[in-house]
Symmetry: D3
């Protein structure tokens, strides 16, 4: 039994509130336990320099935390005048993950800007960001699909992320909160498509290591959690979920 009463293979309660803000093309507030992230998707009718004239679009992401998303106040990166390594790592991960399920040709020469702003942090902010950002992106894509009459819906599959870890006692657990994450010997983030294929798999020993068997155990645990996340995303998306292929993969 874990400190919050969950068994090793349970995820925290997850809610995804769509159309959370009035301005963005897509926006959600995702809560994974006490972790809360506002994810928005913005459609911009142009692409970065390296794609101009290519007929292909782009997806890019930015990530930030409010200063008091955390127990101790964190200094703003705007005040420091630069973005830290952790933030860079996370926003590169979010963008790369989402691009795996976007058909950039179908999107056309447009950029989807994803913004993930953590308003409350309790572990797993990067995986919550990916899971929520996917829904915001799908909402924005659906709006674009209608308004611009795209030939093809540009999102090819569902996408979600979760974390798994090995405790200092060697137990494998799913969806770590902050307390668990701080004490974990190994931490692994898994990004998977609705069809069950891996997009990113990042396992890290924190002054510790893991075996091949542990690797496979962690991945199995993640798969269980991700199936539940796909169901929650599907419900949040409502009719938009029908546009995504192959929908069969997320049943």
């Amino acid at each position: 039994m874990r400190h919050d009463g969950r068994t090793a293979d349970m995820i925290r309660p997850v809610t995804i509130e769509t159309d959370y803000l009035i301005h963005p093309e897509g926006s959600v507030l995702i809560s994974v336990g006490n972790t809360k992230v506002i994810c928005t998707a913005t459609i911009e009718e142009r692409v970065p320099h390296f794609l101009r004239g290519s007929g292909k679009g782009w997806v890019t992401a930015e990530y930030s935390m409010l200063p008091r998303a955390t127990g101790q106040r964190t200094q703003r990166e705007a005040s420091k005048g630069k973005i830290g390594g952790r933030t860079m790592e996370i926003q590169r991960l979010i963008g790369r993950a989402l691009r795996a399920v976007i058909n950039l040709e179908a999107l056309g020469e447009r950029t989807i800007w994803i913004d993930c702003d953590v308003i409350q942090a309790d572990g797993g902010t990067r995986t919550a960001s990916i899971t929520g950002a996917f829904v915001a992106m799908a909402m924005a894509a659906a709006k674009l699909h209608v308004e611009k009459g795209l030939a093809q819906f540009p999102i090819s599959d569902f996408l979600a992320a979760t974390s798994v870890g090995k405790t200092s006692e060697g137990e494998l657990i799913l969806d770590l909160d902050y307390v668990e994450d701080s004490a974990a010997a190994v931490d692994m983030n898994v990004v998977m498509t609705g069809g069950g294929a891996f997009v990113e798999l990042q396992g890290t020993g924190e002054e510790s290591t893991f075996t091949r068997d542990e690797m496979n155990g962690l991945v199995s645990l993640a798969e269980e959690g991700l199936k539940q996340l796909f169901t929650i995303q599907k419900e949040a998306l409502g009719s938009v979920a029908q546009l995504i292929n192959p929908v069969g993969g997320v049943e």
Copy 2:
């Protein structure tokens, strides 16, 4: 009649949700019409260099907007690597305003960090920030008062802010939303204490000017709005409101 059905002397619907986040010592979500700001107050047990050993505390504020708080996506200041002039102006205003009702000796050598993060913008973000930040600060001060057994509650009066303006047709209106603010000839922000004294008064002609009579008309309009805001703050604060003196001023 204004574009949203209000008369010239009406404020927008205002709600203040306290204890909005789990980590900060004080936190609120304030909504003024569609403008929504998360305001948090953090108590830090030290003061800036220039106050060390003085026995006095400090209040400082930071302000930011999520990229999609606005109709068009705004680039993050962290990405630009510097804080813009508008942000600086606003966060200096918030800090200065709050310091007018804080007894810095009673606070002791502590800093109260105020963070105002606009998650949705529809005009009046700086005045909503001040009105909400006051409540977050009072909540944090009440917690501090109990935990540290302060000799005196460090907040001496209520404080709120609103905007007034002159339309291009010369009409004076209260609590401008974004559409009204963009078209206004004159814009004035008024920060007032519960006792009715002015703390800040910033009237600005936008390629336009105003007379002494218009100045007095705008100030009167602001006073009407501010009285309503004090009542809403008092309700949001519940029993904490009793600690603030002179409470008589806000009836």
Copy 3:
């Protein structure tokens, strides 16, 4: 009687030396007591991005202090690598104030760059900057008017600024020097046109407040000082003063 022998309603001696530098289109050295500011106006034959093709011009301002303009040496903002909040606030104020008396259509697609460099500071640097910058701008506009044969002189009225304040004893005084400013309970900057209309009015309690009556008393005091400044500007401008309308307002 004030510490320098002035009565409450007296301004300090003011001189405006025009054509102070050989390179700029307009330049002055303004002295307000011991406060000395070099103000220059530069005409650039292009406008910021947001005005291209609009047929309208722009006025923008920058403000700085030499390190030893002050009693203690101040670190250069170039050395710090960023511009501080106070500087930003002041340069935004100067630009906004000047734009109130410029006819941007008459200016055409040009930018007037205003540079205010304080070489000696003794209180009131921002108001001296506005008063001096107006003269430099008018000189540059007159040169432009002749060289480019503008259909209409682009400056519609005189513009000057002064400060007023409330001492800790509650007395209202005009044109505060550094010693008075440091000790003041309330500080107000007033920017007015030659025709007597307000452009900016910024009253600030420094951990203090002010009443409606005090507000009106301060504004009246400022109006007295501003009338004298208009006369001094008019003399400094010589024949250029004739180009400004309505000249009647500044008699």
Copy 4:
């Protein structure tokens, strides 16, 4: 057969030249095919703020590329004034990886600074950096061990890294060069200890995905390459290799 004549399970020729520079406590030039990295280890007799008084040391890493390490000249990060996301990601990875085999208590309150400067790039610069940096760190630790008479040698095991990938035709290959890396559908970096435990495992689909079987296939391939790298490290280290435990793991 690959474009350079290797079979799928072959690494490129690897050489590690120790004592490459005269100043650092440890330094190597590692060549992995045409990829060449200067790795240095510096011992500093103090630790970051968060470890002072803890009795524990720290290992941190910085990574950079010469402008013409690459086919096209890359702008220097010093000229841009900031470190890019890719660099941050890599230097965080190098530091984290090395900390897995360092006994920070045995190191004592010291920091080992690792600098990896790529002088020529042809794919796999981050894994070459880790493999080379381990040797530089061991050399520096050996010198420290003698000079300071440490009670225990602070490095507990060998550590090396390699990359594996899936080609667009679905073939799994070991130690990708630049041409292969640019075209790969999936790219995985594996950091392993001499004892065969994983420290980091980062698999990334580049607008593509991978299955569980492919994950296991890639990991097996990496293990083969890493065994060869441990042998090369051992030879490069000479007698210093004897100090590392458990040496049995690297036979």
Copy 5:
């Protein structure tokens, strides 16, 4: 005959106005033809980190130009967020030059900050800065000498600087103005002590070269100009000039 009527070996008219500002310990306005520089000297009662406890002082310099010191407006370095290479080169030169005639032990653990702000530029701003800064520094040192009762006056000799150059026609000329400097094939700055010894000698071919004979001709020309500058400095300093040794050298 040169474009402004001078012969090859003539300097421009030079004036040095001392006590130009009220706040600094030493301040001058130096004019060399149309080049005008405000030079100030500030005494700070501490030294940089590397000199603490050494009993020795330090001299450091900063240099800047007002945006409209030049014919075209130059962007402020504070706005750019960084100091350019030319500025760095000049301020390092000024500091180094002044340190050659300061007895840092006699100064004691104090820093003299030199600020050179060019308010009007017409060639030779760096040499005018050195010549003026020397006078400001001597004034500040004289004040310090009296107030702190130094055992020994810390300035050991006079110091001035001038420029010489070779025109595209091969003529050697003294004290180049902007027009001459822009067209020169070779430019040389010479910093010399009152005793006739060289402190800095920087000869630069601008896409051109110079012979040994030309080098000696340029140096001779500079010596002639420098003798005149020492006389002007001596007059500006009045009785302070008596404190400097060996005064014999500047007759």
Copy 6:
């Protein structure tokens, strides 16, 4: 006899390894004693803004040191977020020096980027950079000459640099290493063409001075060293040396 056994007029052993890297158009590793610099030359088919349409090319240089090129680790300028004054001074010197022997019209509208990265420092890094960069530039120019069929080889003469100095005992010495440079009273860098003309001559007293005779003595010493460097450059360049005019000057 000097600390390393050289007489006053001896240079250190110099080697220049050409084609040191596979990617750049020209690259060398130059060693001057223990000072080692990688110099690369990159041809870019465009010019800076101020030369567009002029038919002329440009040469620009950047300089950096690896953190452990030095005895103590130096913080990276990329980590600091800005380039220091010393670096700026050196890279401006390198670019200016090389431009003296380039025929920019013959080069055409192209930029040659020179990168000098010091991998090991023992005094004289700037002069070694110039000497090595010349060879890299000549190699790149030869490649360009063939590939683009330039009408004229764009390099008009050899170019090399060395340092000379005066010890604290007053002795004049050639090619100072770090130990000598740190203790020198006067330091002079001399950049000369193969034809014997000076391009740059920078003599600096380090809290010290030098006479006219010493100046001439130092320059003579430098000329001796430079003749040897031209021979070494010529050997390193092989057949490319034939393209440079006037080759007679370097016999």
